[in-house]
Every structure is written in C-alpha cells, then in structure tokens.
Amino acid sequence: MIGRRAWAVARWEFLRFAKAKDFLVTLLVTAAIYGGVQLLGDFARGRSAEPRTVAVVADGRLDLDSPLELAPFRFLPEPRGLAAADSLVVAGALDAVIAPLDGDWQLRVARERGWQELLRVQFGALARQNELQRLQLDPDVLAMLNTPPAIATVLIGPGAAERKQRPGTVVVIVVIGAMLLGLFTGFGYVFVAITAEKTQRTTESLLSILSPQEWIDGKIAGLTGVVLVSLLNYLAAWFLWQAVSWRFFGGSVALPSGLGSLDLVWSCLFAAAGFAFWFTLFALVAATIDDPNSSGRSALMFLPFIPLGVVFAGLDTPDAGWMRTLALLPGVSPSAMPVRILRGDPAAWEIALSFGLLLAGALALRWAAGRVFGASMLMTGKEPGLREIWRWLREK
C-alpha cells in the first residue's frame, strides 16, 4: 500500500510527463504511420502482383496452346524453340523458360531466386493435371484425384470443448512488442525524472518531507501510469487508422482472432507488474548515476531487454522446459508467461505462481530501491560502489 504523500508524488510525476497536447500529437502521428505502413504494404503487394512470365517450350509434352495465368505466374507457349526463349530470358523480357529434359523438366533462368521454388510447385501441379487429362479419366474420378483429403483438428481430453483457439504469431508479437515499447518509454521517463532531479538538486527539499520509500513508490506509480496511457494511446491510434481506413477506403476493421478476454487480462496484469518491477530497478540504477552523460551504469538499464529477446525464441515452443522455467522468473515472466498463455498451455497453478513470484520480486526490489534511493540521491560528485550499496541494504 502506498500512502497519501506517495500518491501526491505519483500525480505530480504523471502530470509532469503525461501532457494532453503531446498525446494528441502522438495519436495523430502514430495513426498516420500505421496508415502509411499499410498503404506502402498494399502498394508493394500490388507491384508484386504483376505476374512473372515463364515461357514453356513444350515439345509435345504439355498441352499449352494459349497463355495461362496461375498467380503469380503467366505461362506462355513458346513454339520458336529453346534458343529463342533463352535469348528473351537473357534480355530480361522473360523471367524463366521451362523445357523438357530427358523424362523430366528443366528450369532455365538468368540467376537463382526465391520465387523459383513456388514456380517449381506450380508448374509441377500444372504438368500433373495435364497428364491426368491426357488419360481421359471420368470427370468425377478426375475431381476426386484433384481434391486433397481434408484434415480437421479435433480437440480431445477433458474440457476440450471449452479450450481456446490460439491467436496467431502476429498477435503474440504485438503483445510482446507492446511490452518492449512500454519498457523503452518507461526507461526514458525514469531516467530523465531521476537524473534530472539529482542534477536540479530537488532532492533535499523532498527528503525533508518524504521517506525515500514514499518518493520511489510515488515515482514508480506515476511513471507506470504514464507508460500505460502511452500504450493505450498507440492502441487508440490503431483504431483511429482503422476507422479512417474503413470510412475512406471501405473494407472491414481487422480484429485479432483467437485472443480471449482472460488472455488479455492476464497479459495486462503481467505487463503492469512487469513495468513496476523493471521501473523500480531503473529507478534504483538511475539514482546511483552521477552524470548521465558519462556514467557506464546507463548500460545496466538495458538489462530487461535481454529476456524479451530470449522469449521471442520460444514463440513456437511455449511449453518447452526452458520456457516454463523462464516464465517463473521475476523479471522474465512479464514477457514469457503471456507467450505461454497465448500460445501454450500453462497450468493455472503455473500462472498463479509466476504472478505471485513476480509480485514478491517487485516488492523485494521496491524495498531495496527505497534503501539505495534515499542514500544515493543525496550523493553528488561520485557514484556509490557495490560495497557501499550493500552496506545501505544492510543498515537498520
């Protein structure tokens, strides 16, 4: 619990950094960026929609009398022969030539590219169809041969009916990305708020009123609030762009699928507790920095970004042993457990234990930060060493 004075500090920090004008500008600029990215993507997709032209020198092996479009390729019959087709590829007028080679086919190109894999698959299917048609099979038989068997997913075991659909990788990346964005934003706010206070010498006035614990509690609460509002602002910008897009370009609003409300609640809880955990550590480190321009300790503040990077490696194996372990560690759990919740199958006790450990870790860090904060905020001209910090932690 934090007291009245700590709330006054929280309000002060919140109002100091959460400026309505800045949020409005960010909202509009971010919405414009979302729009720009989407329009650029559409443009790029439109460009790549131009089919690649492939000449087919069939030599009687394939029935192709007229151009055939199979996106993203256009197959053109080339009756003039291989040499003529090759010269067009070399001149850049064609993308590729396909011709018989012994009993198989050959792909003739100026250089190897990624799209040629798809071309192999597409042309293979085309050639197979052609051979089936030459067999003059019954149309029903032909249709049966052309239809691959459907494989449905059936959930089994107790409570299978209630089990959720999993959100796609993009949704999980967005959740982790939001965490990353929040950490970066919070890192900036905490760093500026504390080092500026040290250099502007506001410390003594405040420490004659507040205990260091009240001060740091208020700071963390206020700055966490600013970061959460910032993230909501980015979300609002996305909705704003969706609304603009729907109004002027038509289509429908794209909502993430497979994201349950409980998933969101847990993700938000882990994010908020994770921000509190990491911002407390940021505050502790920032308080020991004497000159923010030259201190090597600034690098310590990038520590939380390591677990975030590691967790990305576990997106496809959320229930692997190492991910289960990471999801229990305070500091890593804010990013690892949401991945498990969204993509894996953590047991309820694992989620509860992970959250409990995170809260306990945050409280322990809060206690340590209060000790270090009070002493190091008064220290100017030098930075406390580890031995000194250890002594402050042990002082009664």
């Binding site: 004075r5 006054a8 500090v9 002060w12 109002l15 100091r16 500026a196 206070e197 502007q200 010498r201 506001t202 410390t203 003594e204 006035s205 405040l206 420490l207 004659s208 009123i209 507040l210 008064l378 220290m379 100017t380 001209g381 030098k382």
Partner: protein, 344 residues
C-alpha cells in the same frame, strides 16, 4: 524591528520546541559536528553562524532528518509549540506538515509551472489541493509573481526562482521554518525584503532557525545566535550577551584628512586592528581597557582626523575575531566540494 543587541533575550528555553543533545557526525575524513547541544525556543529566530565547514548545514540536515547523527538525540515538540506540559510528547522526527525547510542547495524541477510546483510542495506538507492553490496564488501576488504563475520555473530569473523556493518552504505556515542561507543570491533590496518576510513569518507564529553568512542581516533578525566552528558551539546567546562575553573593546570609525597606511594605525598602542571602512575612513578595534582619548591623541599625531564615530563591535568583527584563526580562503567562500555528505 527586533533588536537583540539592546536588551535581554525575549525567549524562554524552559520547554524548547527543538532540543538537540550531544549531536555528533563524522564523515570519512572530517568530524563535521562534535557533541553539539542546541535548543530552540518557541517563537524565536535562532541564527546559526560559522565559517564554511563549521557544521551548520550538517546540523540542519540532521535536524530535518536527511542525515542520521552518529550519536546524540533530537527531540521536537512542534505539535504543541513548546507549551507547558508538552515535554512528554517530544518526538525524534519532525512532522513534515509542521516543518518548513529551505535547503542550502536550491533546486526546483525546471519544466513544471510555478503554481503547480507550489501546490505540490504544499500538498506534500499537508494542505488540501484547493487551499494550496488559493494560498499559492495569494503569495505569488504578494511576491510580484502573480502573472508568472503559469510559467515554467526555468523561465524565471534566479532571484524569482529563489522566491518560489522560499514560498515552497513556508506556504503551509510551518511551526518551525529552517532556512539555510535564505539570502544568498539576492540583491540588497531583496535581502531587506526577505528580512521583513522572515520577521512576518515569525509574527504569524513560526519559530525560525536561520543559517547564514550575512552577519548584518543576522544582527537585524536574530533573537539568539549560535556561533559554530569546527563542529562545536564556540559562542551562544543574544548579541548583547555575546558582546559582553567576548569583552571586546570599543570600535572607532575615523574620517581622515589624508590617506594613511593601515599598518601605521594598527601599530598604535591600544589598537588591536585597523580596517578600511570607506574612502579615507578606517575602523579601529580597540583592545579591552584601551582609553579612547589616548588612542585618538596618538592617531592625531600621525594624521588629521575630520570626524570620529564610536560604536559597539559588529557581529562580523566578533565572528572574525572568534573564528579568525587563520581561516583558509575556502572557509570564507562558498564551498564547491562534491558530495552532500561531505559538506557541513
């Protein structure tokens, strides 16, 4: 005007509002405060004097709870204002809503408007937001900053920032205001204005502990003076008591007809020291027991004297004489040593 030099102390120390006993603080290389005793009577203005490094700021920081003394104890009776029967309710840490503190190291958050800064400090000191806002507006008007309330602090001049810092310390009308170097950075006009403000604060019921180098202002303001040197109290009492205790001789101010080297004057019998006091004016500090007529006779033998003024010794001179044992230059100038903990 309070004139401590003209009569007995108007304060009673029967039940002091603050009482410190045997305070001691050692830093890594220096003993900042050594077994210091201090009492502040309710309603008085007590001045802490001393050269840099004397232990004033360390004492103040221990009183406000920023530094912990190595030994000794401090008792506050702010809630009862030192009234009889209050002794049993002494506490070791001051209630922040009853304390005002203007630190020597000034600092306000620069990118926040003046009014919000004052509201914040007043709210932390226990005022509700509406009262804090109303009082901040009134005080800003009184300090000619009414039209600057919405501006960021860093848009104000240094002097105006000082005013805001002072207001932040006293807006909640504290029982005890501890003001560390309240006049530094002010021009003489604003210094006099602040003398009046501090007096007004006392008249409204605050007790004031003042730590400053400005001797002439201390003479105008202080009911009692505590002169510190090397962490110890070397003189204490009203100015009159201090003058009596130091048994200093008279002070003569002479207007001379021509220039004369000070060394010639200070070599005269009965003269302890000679100092410049203006154009062709010198101040002579006489040794205890020196006869004024004999000294004047000796001076007129050297140079023509156009006018003579006699006055009791100034606090500045008592200060220099008492702690003037080869003061190093850094002791008489603002300290720029790093590390709050190492300052005093």
């Amino acid at each position: 005007m309070n004139d401590p030099g003209q009569g007995p102390s108007p304060v009673s120390l029967d039940i002091p509002i603050v009482e410190a006993h045997a305070l001691r603080k050692q830093f890594s290389t220096a003993l900042a405060v050594a077994d210091l005793d201090l009492q502040i009577a309710p309603g008085e203005i007590l001045a802490l004097l001393g050269p840099n490094g004397a232990g004033k700021t360390t004492t103040v920081r221990m009183l406000v709870g920023i530094l912990r003394p190595d030994s000794g104890h401090i008792a506050f009776r702010l809630d009862t204002g030192g009234r009889p029967g209050a002794a049993a309710r002494a506490v070791s840490r001051p209630d922040p809503t009853l304390l005002g503190y203007l630190p020597e190291e000034r600092g306000l958050v620069r990118d926040v408007p003046v009014l919000r800064t004052l509201e914040f400090f007043a709210e932390l000191r226990g005022l509700d937001r509406a009262t804090a806002r109303a009082r901040a507006r009134d005080e800003l008007m009184r300090f000619d900053l009414g039209d600057r309330a919405g501006e960021r602090v860093d848009r104000l001049s240094k002097g105006n920032q000082q005013k805001v810092q002072f207001l932040a310390a006293i807006l909640h009308r504290p029982r005890l205001a501890i003001l560390d170097e309240p006049f530094s950075g002010f021009d003489p006009i604003n210094q006099q204005r602040f003398v009046a403000e501090i007096r007004r604060l006392r008249d409204e019921g605050s007790t004031i502990l003042l730590s400053t180098h400005q001797m002439d202002l201390v003479e105008q303001l202080a009911d009692r003076i505590l002169l510190l040197d090397r962490g110890r109290v070397v003189l204490a009492g009203t100015l009159a008591e201090i003058r009596a205790r130091t048994s200093s001789g008279h002070r003569l101010e002479l207007e001379l007809a021509t220039d004369l080297p000070l060394t010639a004057l200070s070599a005269l019998t009965g003269v302890e020291r000679a100092e410049p006091a203006g154009l062709r004016r010198v101040a002579l500090g006489l040794a205890p027991g020196a006869v004024v007529g004999e000294v004047l006779h000796a001076v007129t033998g050297l140079v023509g004297v156009q006018a003579v003024h006699s006055a009791p010794e100034r606090l500045h001179e008592i200060f220099l004489r008492t702690v003037g044992r080869d003061l190093a230059p850094e002791e008489l100038t603002a300290s720029d040593r790093p590390g709050v903990k190492e300052e005093s």
